[in-house]
Symmetry: D3
Subunit: 243 residues, 6 copies
């Protein structure tokens, strides 16, 4: 089976990453997978969230937004209210990134990771997690001198990818046209060590049995291993975890 | 290991269901699992949703809401805006119920399943799905005479349950106190035939490997089989699928 | 004149009340009059409302809400904003219940009485007051040990009923079909001692003279006396006022 | 008993009325009672409200708003949301004015009566009704030529006044300082013929018996008779009802 | 060229001003230019705005609102949200008035100037500034005794006027019909000493060259000099600046 | 006088522009001036805005938004409501771009130009106009084949720049630190032919006389001439106007 862009069924789209894309936030990652393009920035506020008073640990939260021009037709700007899809996605990104962080080692700070989608061609939530973790790493590196033990802040790296089922075959890293016709849609978030952080699988056109689920998890794990390698190469010496 | 309420680790909480609890909606199910209590009503609007114009099939959507008095301390009423947790949950319930329905056989109608939580003690989203499917079945039965082929509306029955990991053991159907301390939280939605509809797993305090995931999926499948039996007994002759 | 359900013109609908319907709130009353069904919960917050700072007395407030499935066609959920009818009703319920309470004896607490309508068939605002007072009584009983003089918290019991004029005859406790065609609609809130707390009369299709007002007030007073008796029987030994 | 401004207990405050205060709306009444000052404008839209489609009759609605500078301290402008007191008041004004109008004779039009309070010193809701009816009369007169039978549009004139109980005495037309200390607050809306349109009585500090209610209704009726005379003198030949 | 109302092209509309129009706010100016009518009230809050904590100076802010009946057809009330035109106008009024005030001499207070348009016939934003400054002057005079050096609060007087280009001629103080057809619309805010505070020029139907801009600025300056004279006469001995 | 970045007082910041930055919108311009970075996309909707029904011409509108990570500290995302500064800016951008377009030649379409600020260091509103016009040009070029006379759509090119006064000297194209301390802030929008489209001048710390205004206008005009040259070079053969 050949895919639109000539990829094999178990290949990621080509990834391109720029660190320090903007200078206004301590973590600023421009990440592209195929045509999907996201600006992930991580900003630090030296205060806990209001509901966390009287504790000593920190917090990591995320916001997700598609720019109006990121799709055709144009997506209406979320000003009146946040749309429910964005709400669901940003909760997923936030939970996933928090799993990577030792909040006590971070200390009483709030880091907000903003994933603003510049162009959307499928897989924005998983690419936001992969890029968001890099922005988080750069932001924490920028305050390493203020932390008692910066080396303990990260428990693991985090990356994510989608898999889907199309005509009984499992595809890795779906673009928008593939996602629209997939019968099953599974988003997998894993640590660099191969443990699960989040699994979200949805039957779109057909329900699915255990065997097909197992195949999808295998393909996803292989994809995430590649993404972890790319994350490592991107950060180089700034990789925040022991080798 | 003994649980608070004396259950074994793989036992469901006692389930109690009343059909036709209120008379104002064609489907009205009062469902209790332990202390968690939900009123699921299904209302029929003989019109498609606005975005569906020019099509001939129907739509099923869901709303989820916790009554302010359903928890202690009281939960602030969602009037200014829907909270993001409710948004996420009602999207899950809606997707799950839609997987059960053949929208063309339903015809140009919108059925809204409202899951209003009267008392919350863990597992509200999964119990809402299990009860919501029953309300949907009763609502569709009420218009069977208006449908060209009522027997084709349902593709399957749907039920859901949570599983979690606590001190390396997999627990079925967590109550609130168990849910708060679980290290992994997995919600599984399946058909009566044992296929997956939705899987949502989240690492709360620790990430988890493939083996533990497999154990959880086994326990969930066994729980859902029991729930399917209860759904069958509840509907009796009104069971909308072939035996 | 015979009414739809066979009642005489001055008869209440059959009343059914369950105390402790849910376990999550200290006061939880399930109350039915005919088909109108309301869950009234009373929750206690050990803090004054924000605008009451620097005072020593407490506050009682109410919220009113119809569940979407409580009517046919389904009522749109009040999430974007509270509808103006609900606003007006919950202000009435709050004022009525506050008239029953000695706020200094309650001390610096806020009790919120939530009236969530499960099925609506007319008279929801008055039944919400009658049931809400019972929920309030149970909630205050639950903290009697924390109050310096629990016996002084209640000044009176409170109950409410509607009366209307239809074809020149005064009807007690209108159901929805009667309410829709009534020419005058009068809601009366009284203490168990027969004093007025609130009177709200509205000419719907015709204005009304003093004599007809007097007749309506007589019928309402008799209905409230019956409701007070039912409240007394419901609480039994928990009746919070001197006999 | 002497009142702050030297009035007797059954006297209205001095009333001042200007017709055609602004030129932008067909009905524009500037009305003052003591220091309470309201601009009531009535605007005509040659369309029915959206929910009234397929009918031939018209509609009258009202909005009530206090200007921020109308009180001291300044009242926050209702832009985020309408406050619940304003909601309740404008519903009362709208219902009261609708009782005066034969909607079929008005034809498929919507008249909106806006009561914008320029200065608030008690009794704004009742003065809004008294002035709003005058604005409505002028607005309907402005389209008399377009109506098949303009003489049938009004069923009656409408006026309103407040009464209260202070130290066991019934006071007519309370100003703000009197209203703040009144034990009972009763707003009465009547036709020029002496029939009731709305009665809203609230126990503020004490409940009240039937006898005291009767006294208040007597005082209110006498006050409304005086207001009706003032309305008649204000409109002169433009009085829309038969004498 | 003759204008609708017979004015010459460089003449202001007739101005009418009443001080102390309402008694509830310390500054209350009713100002009319032709048919445009605005009630400007200035209210004093003895607190700084929240974002200004830990400073010793004050703040002046403005709100602008058109009453629904101020135009035909009726303008929908801004309750759901503030419309963007009002937002832009009230920001202009606020900035303009702040330019007049020495915030340290004012001390830790917030003065809010509300410009509520009773009738709109063009030029509401500029008339709001001219009248708003008068309300501000009266409000500050009312607290002169509480200020260490009241004479230093005002740096200057402020007035504003619109100019426009119609068929190659520059018109002063446009009414609504002129404004609708003007090709250029320029609002100019100046001090009584002839300095600029704000200039906002917009090409409506045609862009404009430097020469035409210069002519407009000349006409505006002459108009503002007349407005300053009127402001001086209005305040008389209460003029807050040295002569 | 030397500026922070070594520029002379009448020099623009270095400009960098990328066309077709994203592929999802027909016009997509990435524009940088110093560190200020904006993504301007122009999207086409083949429908008129709702309020324009029954006309044959088109419409151009703009939205302006700062990404949360575009400033430090992070800017709260505008989801609850649009902040008033953004409202004011997007109205300016929209009016400015509309001045460039012959709406009848555009036909019944709506083009929305979104200016999303990726990094903010002063001058975002003027750079948004300069870049927005380029995005508009590319979007219109993409539908040239569908237009009866594409050559008539543009009346002119549009560019904008800020000037300010600091210590009596006029500075061109202020960055954030300069803008914060400027005494006068003037934003000028001009056509490529040197006509004015919008002028918005604000006295921040001091008012200003006519002579200083004239100097600022001269400096702005020279800056805009340079920006027009850059726009011409950017579009090359795609320049939509006659030479």
């Amino acid at each position: 089976m050949t895919r639109n862009d000539g990829r094999t069924i178990d290949a990621l789209r080509p990834i391109s990453i720029k660190r320090g894309f903007t200078g206004s936030a301590p973590g600023s990652i421009y990440i592209q997978a195929g045509r999907t393009t996201i600006l992930c920035t991580a900003s630090i506020d030296n205060a806990q969230p209001p509901w966390m008073k009287d504790e000593v640990s920190g917090w990591v939260t995320a916001e997700y937004n598609m720019l109006p021009g990121s799709t055709s037709p144009r997506k209406r700007r979320e000003r009146g209210k946040t749309d429910s899809r964005s709400t669901e996605i940003q909760r997923l990104i936030g939970r996933s990134l928090r799993a990577a962080v030792n909040m006590e080692a971070l200390g009483p700070r709030t880091i907000t990771v903003d994933c603003d989608v510049l162009e959307a061609d499928g897989g924005t939530r998983t690419l936001g997690i992969t890029g968001g973790w890099l922005a988080l790493a750069d932001a924490i590196a920028s305050i390493a001198g203020d932390l008692p033990d910066a080396g303990k802040v990260f428990r693991s790296s985090i990356a994510a990818v989608s898999v889907g089922v199309h005509e009984e075959r499992v595809l890795l890293d779906l673009d928008y046209s593939e996602d629209s016709t997939a019968e099953v849609d599974l988003n997998v978030v894993m640590t660099g060590d191969g443990d699960f952080v989040e699994i979200q699988g949805t039957a779109e056109g057909r329900t699915f049995g255990r065997e097909l689920l197992d195949q999808q998890l295998d393909v996803a794990a292989a994809g995430i291993a590649q993404l972890t390698t790319i994350q490592r190469e991107t950060l180089g010496d700034a990789w925040p975890l022991a080798n």
